[in-house]
């Protein structure tokens, strides 16, 4: 069955200049080379073989360009493009002056989705919101959301307002990833149990490719509301440095006299971060039992097998692919 062997796609679409390439670069920590940036349009399909949520492949398409070549190519390849789509993420530039045209292209994408991948999930991002005055942002977003929901019928779309200059982009993509993880509620419940057993202050679960936080458990109030995004940025920067040395990032331990944090591979789709501020982790405590950090790591490794099973057993389509290969 060739169709099931084909990779499922995440389509990132939108008008040329709406910010898709920057968005992809930021979320997936891809270096943007100068040439690919603003030569008018994203010239070709950008296949990034990023293992995103299992076996999903991200495809980036410019929609509704000025170029008749792009138009023709798009129309002739339509079925190819829209087949086997798991997720459609459509990006709208809030500053666009051609709203009618934008909606028109969006609708034609939806038609193609309805024909070729009717089960796909649809997300709409109203992007570049930082260019709108603060007091008008809610109003304008509400307007757009209503229009988009109305136009998308019978398909259901989820709308987010985003900007690369505040936390909204990260939160929107985290929400998208959250909706795509199979059994995410069960995962969260198990995560809470795990955290309580090992007596951690906080446990985070990240998506592997993008370090978007899928789920977290915290046992007490934390001060910094932006910590998820900051951790994600730090690790992505570290990954970029690692890739320069042709090394890949696997795990990290950060500690000082007040806390210890462990970041490690968890399941095939996720990373885990465990933060312990157990005051018993003191410099001069040399116990004859295993050092506390090693104990935590062993706990993590054991939990890993349990969570892998969780992901595999109830996971739908893409885990099936892994079995069948």
């Amino acid at each position: 069955m060739s169709s099931t062997a084909m990779k499922k796609k995440v389509l990132l679409m939108g008008k040329s200049g709406s910010g898709k390439t920057s968005m992809r670069s930021i979320i997936f920590a891809n270096y943007i080379a100068r040439d690919t940036r603003r030569l008018g349009a994203t010239i070709d399909v950008e296949h990034s073989h990023v293992r995103f949520l299992g076996n999903l492949v991200l495809n980036l398409w410019d929609c509704g360009g000025q170029d008749t070549f792009m138009e023709n190519y798009f129309t002739s390849q339509r079925d190819n493009i829209f087949r086997n789509v798991e997720v459609l993420i459509y990006v709208f530039d809030v500053e666009s002056r051609e709203l009618e045209k934008d909606m028109h292209y969006y609708q034609s994408c939806l038609e193609a989705i309805l024909q070729n991948s009717p089960d796909a999930k649809i997300f709409c991002l109203v992007h570049k919101m930082d260019l709108v005055q603060e007091d008008q942002r809610d109003l304008i977003f509400k307007e757009r959301e209503e229009d988009l929901k109305r136009l998308s019928r019978p398909l259901a779309c989820t709308c987010f307002r985003t900007s690369i200059w505040d936390e909204t982009l990260y939160k929107a993509w985290s929400s998208i990833v959250y909706q795509l993880i199979p059994n995410v509620q069960q995962l969260e419940c198990n995560l809470r149990n795990f955290a309580q057993i090992i007596e951690a202050d906080e446990v985070l679960l990240f998506e592997r490719a993008t370090f978007l936080v899928i789920s977290h458990y915290q046992c007490k109030e934390q001060r910094d509301a932006h910590r998820f995004e900051k951790i994600s940025n730090i690790i992505k920067q570290f990954k970029l440095s690692c890739s320069k040395l042709a090394a890949s990032f696997q795990s990290m331990e950060v500690r000082n006299s007040n806390f210890a944090a462990f970041i490690d591979v968890f399941t095939s789709n996720t990373y885990v971060m465990v933060i312990m501020s157990d005051p018993s982790i003191r410099p001069h405590t040399v116990s004859h039992s295993l050092p506390a950090s090693a104990a935590t790591l062993i706990n993590i490794r054991n939990a890993r097998r349990h969570f892998e099973k969780l992901e595999r057993v109830d996971g739908p389509k893409h885990s099936l692919h892994m079995r069948m290969r």
Partner: protein, 552 residues
């Protein structure tokens, strides 16, 4: 179940129990360069930086790794950067300083902007002011200086405001030629380029003539001083503050250029005069000095010397004041008729003054750039007016004082030269200092002007400021050649100034700003007939100014 059945290799490298902790015993060694204060447990958490600013800092660090440093794609735009209160500089010693003053671009206080405009506008026209007043008549000359100042100020104000009335475009780095291109397309772009080049090349020709003049006089002074020759061949006053009339018995309505042929040095003069001639040899000597300078790729070296221009203007003001005190005032008011020594107060040659003044008050091609760095943008109009007032006062001062102090009983007022320094003999020490200083200053400005010509012309024609050595060299040959020819055959800076001033002023001062204003009002549907009449009148004035140069 055994714990370690899956992987035999440990998750971390081999770490001994003790050594891992000793490092963290010394916190100073391990402290990171940037620590957000609230993450330091134990300190009372003072909110020094807002949460949003801290998050943005994290984002900016990350985005900076995603593109090349020169790529503007992921650079935070201005509206996203936190206010200066949120920006701190962390020193490695652990203290944090607040950023002083806010902006990344240097914002200048009003006084600096006004001075920059005054400095840029002050040009060689200051030397022609007495001659201009003479051509127009004393009273009419003063009136025209005031009126032209006001007119050019209004047109400059129009240029400044022209970028504000363009909708839907980001005009923050536009100059006036870009505005012309927006309204009139290719025609606007090319016409503003051509007329801007006229003013620049006109200025360069005047510079060549003046530099030949100053070099000649400097050399003559040194030669006479060394050989102890006193030259009293020119007709002039007697006494210590000598004023000469280089070309007496002039036809009062003509140029002094016609007399050049008769008073030129012939081969019967001494050897020095043959090899050191203002029109025959020195313009060519200057080629050796200046043509190489023009071929430099970048003119930033010469930009350092702009302070010399200010110095020379200040010195000229001092010189003029001194001469006026020494010579005293000689004014006699004849309204419409001329006498042997004096001229009427109102003369029909006044367009010559207005032509020179168009060039003297010209800054319209770069005023937008100059005003961009003004700290309080709301004061732009006030500062521009103050700058024009200062410039006008400077020109008036020099012009009126020299004209009034010109010793009229022995000499006729008609003797005032287009370069008033020519009215002083080459043996005058103070004037010698002025000439030498101006010579040096002009040598540093000339390559800058050449660079501007090159950038504008090459940029428009070839898209590249330096398309190739040959292109630039040919351009420089053409420009230098024009200067040499003018210095050889028609070294009258008054005429050169007024023609180039009227031509470039027609487009860039009178026609384009007024037309653009009318078009933008029309597009918004706000054009009323008084405004249309007034601005059309301005256009007609510009045309009349140009015609006046040819027919008067």
């Amino acid at each position: 179940t055994s714990i370690m059945d899956e992987d035999s290799k440990p998750l971390l490298g081999s770490v001994q129990a003790g050594e891992y902790y000793t490092d963290s015993l010394d916190p100073k060694q391990r402290r990171p360069f940037h620590v957000e204060p609230r993450n330091i447990v134990g300190d009372d958490p003072q909110e020094r930086v807002s949460a949003e600013a801290a998050a943005l800092s994290s984002r900016v660090h990350y985005y900076g790794r995603l593109t090349a440093s020169s790529d503007p794609l992921l650079v935070p735009p201005d509206h996203v950067i936190p206010s200066p209160e949120d920006i701190y500089i962390y020193s490695p010693l652990g203290t944090a300083f607040k950023v002083r003053g806010g902006d990344s671009t240097a914002k200048n206080p009003s006084i600096v902007t006004i001075f920059a405009i005054w400095n840029t506008m002050m040009g060689t026209s200051i030397l022609s002011m007495p001659w201009g007043i003479k051509q127009a008549g004393f009273t009419l000359g003063i009136i025209i200086i005031v009126l032209m100042g006001l007119l050019t100020l209004y047109c400059c104000y129009r240029v400044l405001k022209s970028t504000k009335s363009i909708p839907y475009e980001d005009t923050s780095d536009w100059e006036f030629p870009d505005v012309c291109k927006y309204y009139f397309g290719g025609f606007g772009k090319w016409s503003s380029l051509v007329f801007s080049l006229v003013s620049l090349i006109g200025a360069m020709v005047v510079y060549w003539v003046l530099m030949s003049n100053f070099l000649f006089n400097t050399g003559k002074f040194i030669y006479n001083y060394v050989h102890n020759v006193s030259s009293s061949d020119a007709f002039g006053t007697n006494g210590t503050d000598r004023v000469i009339c280089p070309y007496p018995n002039l036809d009062p309505d003509g140029d002094s250029s016609t007399l050049q042929y008769y008073v030129s040095d012939n081969s019967t003069g001494p050897v020095f005069d043959r090899w050191w001639s203002k029109t025959h040899t020195i313009p060519f000597y200057l080629i050796i000095l200046l043509l190489p300078l023009l071929n430099f790729r970048s003119a930033s070296f010469f930009a350092r010397f702009t302070f010399l221009g200010t110095l020379s203007v200040v010195y000229l003001i001092f010189l003029v004041t001194y001469k006026a005190i020494r010579l005293g005032f000689h004014l006699d008011f004849h309204w419409f008729d001329s006498s042997t020594f004096f001229l009427p107060e109102f003369r029909s040659l006044f367009p010559q003054l207005s032509g020179v003044l168009t060039l003297a008050f010209f800054i319209h091609n770069c005023i937008i750039t100059l005003m961009k760095n003004n700290k309080h943008q709301e004061n732009n109009v006030r500062d521009l007016s103050l700058a024009y007032l200062l410039v006008g006062l400077t020109y008036l001062y020099v012009g009126v004082l020299i004209f009034a102090a010109f010793p009229s009983p022995p000499l006729s007022k008609d003797c005032i030269e287009p370069n008033f320094l020519d009215n002083f003999p080459s043996s005058d020490v103070l004037v010698f200092v002025a000439r030498t200083g101006l010579l040096f200053q002009m040598t540093t400005v000339y390559p800058l002007l050449g660079y501007l010509v090159r950038v504008q012309l090459m940029g428009q024609l070839f898209g590249d400021h330096y398309p190739g050595f040959l292109h630039v060299f040919i351009l420089n040959i053409v420009v230098v050649g024009t200067g040499v020819l003018m210095a050889r055959f028609y070294p009258n800076i008054g005429s050169i100034s007024r023609y180039s001033g009227a031509i470039c002023g027609l487009a860039l001062v009178f026609v384009l700003p007024s037309l653009i204003h009318m078009v933008s009002l029309k597009r918004r549907g706000e054009l009323r007939w008084p405004s249309a009449v007034f601005h059309s009148f301005l256009v007609l004035l510009g045309v009349a100014n140009l015609f006046g140069q040819f027919f008067m």
